[in-house]
């Protein structure tokens, strides 16, 4: 499964587990406007680290936080290369 689909699936699962109402996901949607709170996003980042062993947000050279769902996916797609 491509990284993009994995991430979108994880977002849906986490939102369900945390009882969050999720907006329809698209690349321009702001992460914090998606219905996920900061705990959900932290869990998402931790699960991606568990699953793929990559944690680009903890990397020293990553200074800006991805704003949209599309930014977030691209960050992981680039880190996974």
């Amino acid at each position: 499964m491509p990284m993009r689909d994995m991430i979108l699936e994880m977002i849906t699962t986490i939102a369900r587990q945390q009882n969050k109402q999720l907006a329809p996901l698209h690349d321009d949607l702001e992460l914090l406007g998606s219905g996920l709170d900061s705990l959900c996003i932290a869990i998402l980042v931790a699960e991606l680290d568990n699953e793929f062993g990559i944690d680009p947000l903890s990397a020293a050279d990553e200074l800006s936080f991805p704003v949209t769902v599309g930014d977030f996916i691209r960050l992981y797609e680039n880190a996974a290369v």
Binding site: I41, A42, V45, A46, S58
Partner: protein
């Protein structure tokens, strides 16, 4: 240094008219407690230690017991050094403890030497007893007690003569020393654990010695239950202290030792034994808060358990001076308690709190939920770094081996644990990662070694 106005430990021990042979034993030696003149087992006799501050630093526990018996009432101060103190820490400890003399194994006669008849040192001192706290980091703190404060808890609880006591603790820690004093002063016998002795061997050994009273931390007991040798003992009394006793471990012990009286004690090196609970349920009833002197007075303030007690230590040694009691004479134990359905539960240590995005999580409360799963033997919860909110909850899990030694499928167990955590805990307390591990380290103090993020 105060003038001598009490009986020494050895005098208290010998005051008892034994109904049967009393002994103290370790893995290699068994000494009869009567007659025993411990001073004869110190090369050079006890007199050379009179009025001095003495550090007892031996490899084994039996040598330490002999030194205690020989020196209480003779030395001005005894510092009882636990085995895990390193050579690098000793200099600072001797400074803080104002001592320049060490008793080691070389100073103690073993059974095969013929003790030279020594001029007995006349007891003249109300010897100070200094215990070491089992600090999680750095040099242990030195805690000033006396034989009076250390024996204050003995008026409660079992003191059956001809009891045979054993403890998983080292007797150079508060929890172990309590058991030694109960055995020596209460007219009983004692079997000591040996450094690096496997739990199963210890259980077999104390079983052969017909042990009746056994104590340890919940982690000690868990190791005993999983050792395969738990049935080698049939104790009349089982005691837990030093860590929160969960309902799970109390139930497991009840099942394994149906004949035993099972109690869990709330105690710390500084505050002494605060109280014990015998109803088989985790936590403690609110009635504990209405105890009056001479029993320890308990109160809860700022969410933590506080104790004012004759069993408490006088102060810390060393510089800078560190306070022990508040203006009302209470010691803050740092154990955080919560009232749940008319019963108080210790939910964790104040300094162990993990902060998840500004919300507090006690590792113990999460472990309690994880440990309810029958496939889980033991767990350890810790704070894992998160770039988003600082810290998230992670857990290491040891699975219960089946009878054939094979552990179950972890993926299935993980899903069940996660479901249980989501049902029982607030979202920020649910672990984001469960890792199967072969073992969770237990420190020399008998407590789980806490993992830092």
């Amino acid at each position: 240094m105060q003038p001598y106005n009490r009986r020494s430990l050895q005098e208290l021990m010998l005051a008892f008219e034994p109904v049967s042979e009393r002994f103290i034993a370790d893995a290699t030696l068994r000494l009869s407690l009567r007659p025993l003149d411990a001073a004869n087992r110190l090369h050079g006799g006890a007199a050379s230690f009179a009025g001095r501050n003495v550090l007892i630093r031996t490899r084994g526990q039996l040598a330490a017991v002999l030194a205690l018996l020989a020196l209480d009432g003779v030395a001005a101060r005894i510092l009882l050094c636990p085995p895990d103190v390193t050579d690098e820490q000793i200099h600072r400890i001797m400074q803080d403890g104002e001592t320049d003399i060490i008793v080691t194994d070389a100073d103690i006669c073993d059974e095969n030497s013929t003790p030279a008849r020594q001029v007995a040192a006349t007891p003249r001192f109300d010897t100070e007893w200094v215990l070491f706290t089992s600090g999680t980091s750095g040099v242990p703190k030195l805690v000033l007690h006396s034989l009076t404060s250390l024996t204050a808890p003995l008026r409660d609880g079992p003191s059956a003569d001809h009891a045979v006591w054993a403890t998983f603790y080292d007797i150079r820690r508060y929890g172990g020393l309590q058991i030694l004093l109960r055995a020596l002063i209460g007219g009983g016998s004692m079997v000591l654990s040996d450094v690096d002795e496997p739990v199963a061997s210890f259980l077999i050994r104390i079983g052969k010695a017909a042990v009746t009273h056994v104590s340890g931390t919940p982690s000690h007991w868990l190791r005993a239950l999983m050792s395969g040798a738990a049935a080698k003992i049939t104790p009349a009394y089982v005691r837990l202290s030093g860590e929160m006793a969960s309902q799970d471990i109390l139930d497991r012990l009840r099942q394994t030792y149906p004949q035993a009286r099972i109690g869990h004690a709330f105690a710390s090196t500084e505050a002494g034994v605060a109280f014990s609970v015998y109803d088989g349920r985790a936590g403690f009833p609110a009635t504990v808060l209405s105890a009056v002197p001479p029993r320890p007075t308990i109160r809860i303030e700022g969410g933590t358990l506080r104790v004012r007690s004759g069993a408490a230590a006088a102060r810390y040694l060393g510089t800078p001076p560190r306070g022990l009691v508040d203006a009302d004479g209470f010691i803050d134990t740092g154990d955080m308690v919560e009232l749940q359905d008319d019963r108080y539960h210790v939910i964790g240590r104040r300094e162990g709190v993990v902060n998840v995005g500004g919300l507090k999580v006690h590792p113990e409360e999460v472990e309690e939920v994880i440990n309810r799963h029958p496939g889980v033997l033991m767990s350890r919860v810790w704070g894992r770094h998160s770039p988003i909110i600082g810290t998230l909850i992670a857990a290491d899990v040891v699975l219960t081996p089946r009878h054939d030694g094979v552990v179950g499928d972890f993926a299935g167990i993980r899903a069940e644990i996660m479901a249980a955590c989501r049902a029982a805990l607030a979202p920020h307390k649910v672990p984001v990662r469960l890792t199967k591990v072969a073992e969770i380290p237990v420190m020399a103090s008998g407590k789980i070694e806490r993992r830092r993020a």
